[in-house]
């Protein structure tokens, strides 16, 4: 447990010192502010609703999350610091979970940045707090699953850019799962694929419905990719 926290706090420190993480967060904040400006200030909607901006900002996660996770494992392999980790009394599980916890910390920072918009909106009308909290929970679960996928992609290559691209491709595929067969809505293919869609699973929660299978989907997805990452780190010994 102590070793896992050691790795987690090391990763948070490195995020803090690394310009890439600032850059990624800055891009996220900039683009989502532009979207907020367009949909709230330019169009001046007649209702106050966080969801006006939510859909656009979560799409940004697709780009930002691979940028934030690409460093996690790749950099260790490239710098040779994996020799330190794998020869010390840490298990692969502790390494991966420590790094994952740090990435969740960063996800919370991202979500807090996004809270500026509902805060601004609250000056102009009354927000539905329950709906807001449920949406935030949904975004957190979605982001947590995406971070796990990004971490997995990072463990595949020792080049950060390759990791980022792999992560982006996996995320985009899962994201668009329900629109692959969009030409034939209601077709059996779409019915099969839709439950696995990253974005589709969020719809219930945004509507204010807490649905068990949705929670289970995100948690399972995160767990699956964490287990895969642990396996890959463990496999390094067997090259």
């Amino acid at each position: 447990m102590k070793r896992m926290w050691a790795i987690c706090s090391k990763e948070l420190q490195l995020y803090f010192f690394n310009p890439t993480s600032y850059f990624a967060i800055a891009v996220y904040v900039l683009l989502s502010s532009i979207m907020f400006y367009v949909s709230f200030v330019v169009y001046q909607p007649s209702i106050i609703d966080y969801r006006l901006i939510l859909g656009d900002t979560i799409f940004m996660l697709l780009i930002v999350i691979p940028l934030l996770t690409m460093r996690l494992m790749s950099e260790e392999f490239r710098q040779g610091t994996d020799e330190l980790l794998l020869t010390s009394p840490v298990t692969a599980t502790e390494i991966v979970l420590g790094k994952y916890l740090a990435s969740l910390g960063l996800l919370i920072v991202l979500i807090l940045c996004n809270m500026v918009y509902p805060l601004t909106m609250s000056f102009f009308g009354k927000l539905d707090i329950t709906l807001l909290l449920l949406s935030v929970l949904g975004v957190f679960l979605l982001g947590a699953a995406m971070m796990a996928i990004g971490l997995f992609a990072s463990s595949l290559s020792q080049h950060q850019m390759v990791s980022a691209v792999i992560g982006f491709v996996i995320l985009l595929t899962l994201w668009l799962m329900d629109s692959f067969a969009s030409g034939a809505t209601g077709s059996s293919l779409q019915q099969w694929l839709a439950p696995f869609s990253l974005s589709g699973r969020l719809n219930n929660m945004i509507k204010g419905v807490l649905h068990g299978p949705d929670l289970l989907y995100y948690i399972t997805l995160a767990a699956l990719f964490l287990v895969l990452s642990i396996q890959i780190v463990e496999r390094k010994r067997w090259r």
């Binding site: 102590k2 070793r3 926290w5 050691a6 790795i7 706090s9 090391k10 420190q13 490195l14 010192f17 690394n18 710098q79 040779g80 610091t81 994996d82 020799e83 330190l84 980790l85 794998l86 020869t87 010390s88 009394p89 840490v90 298990t91 010994r237 067997w238 090259r239």
Partner: protein, 367 residues
Amino acid sequence: MLQVQQVSKHFDRRRSVDGIDFEMERGEIVGFLGPNGAGKTTTMRMITGYLTPTSGQIWLDGLPMHEPSRKARGKIGYLPETPPLYPDMTVMSYLRFVADLRDVPARQQKLRISEMIDRLGLEGRERQVVRSLSKGYKQRLGLAQAIIHKPDLLVLDEPTSGLDPSQIVEIRQLIRELGEQHTVLLSTHILQEVSTLCSRVLIINEGKLVADGPSNQLDSSLNDKFQVALEVKSRPAVLHTLLDGWGWSETDYVLTDPDEQQEQLIRVRLQGEDGTDFRERLSLALGEARIPILELRRESMSLEDVFLKLTSESAPESATVELPSSSESSAEESSATEATPAKDELTPLTKTSNKASKKMNNKEDRA
């Protein structure tokens, strides 16, 4: 303390390490010597549990390192070829991280870290970012990382590579001090390092162990013929008539003037047929012929020669040289080197000696 039993490692059908077998006792400083790509790093990675051997077993104090448990890994300190540092962290936060990682109890951490900073001369750099440290300081920090948890076995992979001469001397001094408390296995391709630091040397070539023994005995056991370097002032023709017919196994005359009848400086390398000392006879004979001796020196084979001899391609696979171990008494040692089986094993290797020593001659001539 450490037992490496028939360990092999294959990478995609290529055999990197092939049936290595040795043991280490507590308190030894063992030098692991070999040309680049001989399998030193791979072997060390297997000993530290970073790689799993394809076959064979490694035991550290009775704990398996081929399937390392957490406890076994805690007993090892490892400095890879490039020190495993995070360039963005400060020296202090890096040491704190490693202390956590290596299970140093929280109460002792502060003490242990300040001990490391003291010992490795990192004072005043605690808040410096690792990226901005010089290569020598990075190497020190790498060493601090390896010894912070007081490991039983310290494994150092080319600890002095890429350092400038004064840093090399400092790091060697540190390793010598560490050798008083830890068992050390260090790899290098600098032969001088082995003779100054190590009590015992293992030579590896193309994944196989070719020699194992105390570092100061490597040369004497391979050097079965008495060899002398001589510098005289004489006419070559006179010298030839005097020395020819003594029964040399190898001679090498270097003239400063091609004219054989001209008096000149002559450098001669003489090798007797066996180990008997012929210096007395030689100097008397030269004195009688009134040839002034400018230099007369016994040539013992340098580690370079031994190394070339052992790793030259013509060395057959079976010719693993078992040198007497340092634990045996000196009487046994001398008898073991004289013993016939050892010589039989050595014979295939000595065939290459002419070639090896000639190479050395050429080098010296050029210098």
